[in-house]
Subunit: 178 residues, 2 copies
DNA sequence: CTCTAGTTTCTGTTTTTACAGAAATACAGA
DNA sequence: TCTGTATTTCTGTAAAAACAGAAACTAGAG
């Protein structure tokens, strides 16, 4: 890892590890960390050099990050090369990531649960009833999560932040002591 | 996969895939799915037979699930064998999972960010200042998340559910139209 | 103390994933 | 059209993870 301060290095390595624990490829996460920290858009060759990974690996990882929607290509005047830039607003960035994971993983899971519930409703016997109930509870939980997500997602960032910061007021609204 | 209805099979397979996308071993997730659906505690041998995986694999996966805190051992009268049972309350179960992921991954990340911020505060130059600011934003975001988690976590399940269900009232509280 | 059923740990194999380097492709400017 | 630069795709290899089966260990029952 060339030309990076110790703090930056530590951050990039940790972010890579975090990635793996959440099902994100280590290199993808490291490149994301680098672009997030970078003061200006970087081109692929710089990323190779800095992180010491192969050009092809960088290319594929950048494409992956673009699919996630958190990295964009830009072009600088006088330079033909693609330059890459990460979203910088942390809240917006996670909003995008969560939206994407919902689309890829949660929505299909809810669809699957719905199908399984239907299927087990057609099946006979006590076991099938029991199965259906369990699956329905799971479905209900995911749908609750999605509903909440959608509500929060409609808010402007500063409003959403206020919501998450809100302490006692929230609890009073719920008619409870915290 | 023996002795399972088509719906149950579909669920277990999907849950296994979901697992891998979130950094959970496929077999671990499948066993969890099976225990979640099961009407009664199962012993290791039954799990082997049903899912068709090796005894050792089941043993390790069960230990993993116990470490997560979502599967418990029970003993039946007249039977020396350990029997395993998943938590059944979905909301509680995810509460446990989230708590554990926070402990394992989020807390260390916040600690790392704190260290990096300190470190880059000691470093000199414009780049270090820029780095520190980015890391501080990230840290702030994670701390916001943790605060919110802790607040919600203090609530009884039904109250928390009410919070997530709450629609317009919430927005009015925030002084906004949804 | 010994036997037996149960469980965990260890070791080697298989499978999957990540990765580097080469080859192929695209593309702007001369 | 040709040429040099940038990018992507392809292919084989290396590393990591998952896994099965055997061996080792544990603990009741007799």
């Amino acid at each position: 890892m060339k030309d990076l301060t110790p703090a930056t290095q530590k951050f990039i390595l940790h972010w890579g590890e975090m990635g793996t624990k959440w099902g994100i490829n280590r290199t993808v996460a490291q490149i994301h960390a680098l672009l997030f920290i970078a003061e200006r858009p970087l081109h692929a060759e710089e990323i190779c050099g800095t992180l010491g990974v192969a050009r092809s690996n960088v290319s594929n990882s950048l494409k992956e990050l673009q699919n996630w929607g958190i990295v964009k290509v830009t072009h600088l005047p006088e330079d033909r090369r693609d330059h890459f830039e990460s979203m910088k607003d942390v809240f917006e960035m996670f909003r995008v990531i969560i939206t994407e994971r919902k689309r890829r993983e949660i929505d299909p899971t809810i669809a699957m649960l719905r199908e399984c519930v239907e299927e087990s409703a057609r099946e006979t016997g006590g076991a099938a009833i029991h199965t259906r109930q369990r699956l329905e509870q799971l479905q209900e939980f995911f749908e609750l999560g999605v509903d909440f997500y959608e509500k929060v997602n409609r808010l402007e960032t500063p409003t959403a932040v206020r919501l998450f910061r809100m302490g006692d007021k929230l609890f009073r609204l719920l008619g409870l002591k915290g």
